[in-house]
């Protein structure tokens, strides 16, 4: 019987009822060149979301509603021994700049905000609204 790796080479090696992996190497999760993960849609956006880790409460709302799966999370274990996803950043290769993540962010001062594409991240973080600014509005 053909191995999954052989099955990926030509179509006539595919076995009936086989489950084909979409990875070239399933262990390291290296995706093949035909996976759209290796295609960049970054040039679609005009504004980019910037992530402020100081204000984030790790609610993961942005993860579940991001249409392009470009909220990067990392699995951590809490003090009580429970699994929890911690937000680490944004995948700027696949973000189309729709702004859904900013809209759903629940913190009083949003921990994700849209900035023009050319703004460097350090500059955007420096411009972040403060608590006093919000009270004035």
């Amino acid at each position: 019987m053909a191995t999954p790796k052989e099955m990926l080479t030509t179509w006539d090696k595919i076995q009936f009822g086989a489950v084909l992996p979409s990875f070239e190497d399933p262990k390291t999760k290296k995706r093949s060149k035909f996976h759209s993960y290796n295609y960049k849609v970054a040039d679609w956006r005009v504004e980019k979301p910037v992530f402020n880790p100081d204000l984030c409460i790790n609610c993961d709302f942005c993860w579940v509603w991001c249409p392009d799966s470009c909220i990067l999370v990392e699995e951590v274990t809490t003090k009580r021994g429970k699994k929890q996803a911690k937000m680490v950043g944004i995948d700027y290769d696949h973000c189309k700049g729709c702004g859904v993540c900013v809209d759903v962010c629940p913190t009083p001062i949003k921990s994700l905000l849209m900035f023009p594409e050319h703004t460097p991240i350090e500059e955007a973080l420096a411009q972040w609204p403060k608590k006093e600014d919000k009270k004035k509005d």
């Binding site: 009822g17 979409s22 759209s36 993960y37 790790n58 609610c59 993961d60 509603w65 729709c98």
Partner: protein, 314 residues
């Protein structure tokens, strides 16, 4: 069976529908697909009818899926998945399966591929009793080809084949109730869902996948391009649709037992949902007030009907 308790745990799931697809920014299709495919750890076989999801997730030579995926014509997503399921069953009986891991079968179709064109294939597959889940991504029109009307388009909506103008007020017919039609087939599990309520959708998808037999989920998919709202408002539009009871969330078991899964705390007037979208903007002009009243009346009547059914347990 995977346990879905809270979002923090759910977010540890490795994604099986990845970025790099060419759906519009802020499209609800990929939200629904991710919430459905992440709801289970089992292997999946997915078939997709022609539509936005298919043309955007499988542009040659790229694919966005980490699961086995079949592309099939507009009309036969349900037929293809029932064939795959029948083959799997036959190979299992003969002991010729490649793996022993459980495999689930899912079909995705747009509302054109479900309400109109693919309806006979879906009806046939449900009648034959194959074990699959059919998810309808209901964006109320043929949005892939530029926004023509379908039988899912609600009354008063502007589409390119039911345009608004001096004489016309947009779509004349009311939305077909596909969920009740599927329930009338005697399907063991039928539900409506909205991606703005992620847990509701994920739990329903899991329940549908665990149920043996043909199951159906009708998921509302707000379309930023043709419903004419800003891309970042997708989640909020879905919430408005459910909170105003224009798209109530319920499930029906065995075609007889209806249960409302989400009750809005305070029902908001349907005007707020319609006013948020550009395709209904002409209804707020002088002379068209009667359509807004008609909308409200239809929504209230349907909500009352659902509540009566739930109370009686039928």
């Amino acid at each position: 069976m995977k346990k879905i308790t809270n979002l923090k745990e759910f977010a540890c799931t490795p994604d099986r529908f990845l970025g790099g697809h060419r759906l519009c920014p802020g499209c609800a299709h990929s939200m629904i697909v991710r919430e459905v495919v992440n709801a289970t750890d089992d292997d999946l076989v997915v078939s997709t009818a022609t539509g936005c999801l298919e043309v955007c997730s499988a542009i040659y030579p790229y694919t966005s899926w980490d699961v086995s995926w079949i592309h099939i014509g507009f009309e036969n997503a349900a037929a293809a998945i029932s064939g795959a399921e029948a083959m799997h069953k036959a190979l299992k009986r003969k002991g010729k399966l490649y793996t022993d891991r459980p495999v689930k079968f899912v079909a995705f179709g747009g509302d054109g591929g479900t309400y109109d064109i693919g309806f006979q294939a879906l009806s046939g597959a449900t009648e034959r009793g194959h074990d699959f889940l059919y998810v309808c991504l209901d964006n109320e029109g043929y949005m892939n080809t530029g926004g023509q009307r379908s039988s899912s388009t609600p009354i008063g909506a502007h589409t390119t084949t039911s345009p608004r103008g001096r004489v016309s007020y947009g779509e004349k017919q009311k939305k077909k109730d596909i969920t009740m039609i599927m329930a009338a087939h005697g399907s063991p599990y039928v539900a409506t869902a909205c991606p703005s309520y992620w847990k509701d959708l994920a739990v329903k998808a899991q329940k549908a996948l665990e149920t043996e037999g043909p199951t159906f989920i009708n998921a509302l998919s707000p379309c930023t391009t043709e419903w004419k709202f800003k891309p970042e408002e997708t989640v909020r539009i879905g919430e408005l649709a459910v909170e105003s009871c224009a798209f109530p969330l319920y499930e029906i078991e065995n075609g007889t037992k209806l249960r409302i899964t989400y009750r809005p705390k305070k029902k908001i007037p349907v005007k707020e949902y319609l006013g948020a979208q550009g395709r209904f903007s002409h209804l707020f002009k002088k002379g068209n007030e009667w359509i807004l009243d008609l909308w409200q009346k239809q929504v209230d009547e349907y909500w009352d009907y659902l509540q009566r059914r739930e109370e009686c347990g039928v």
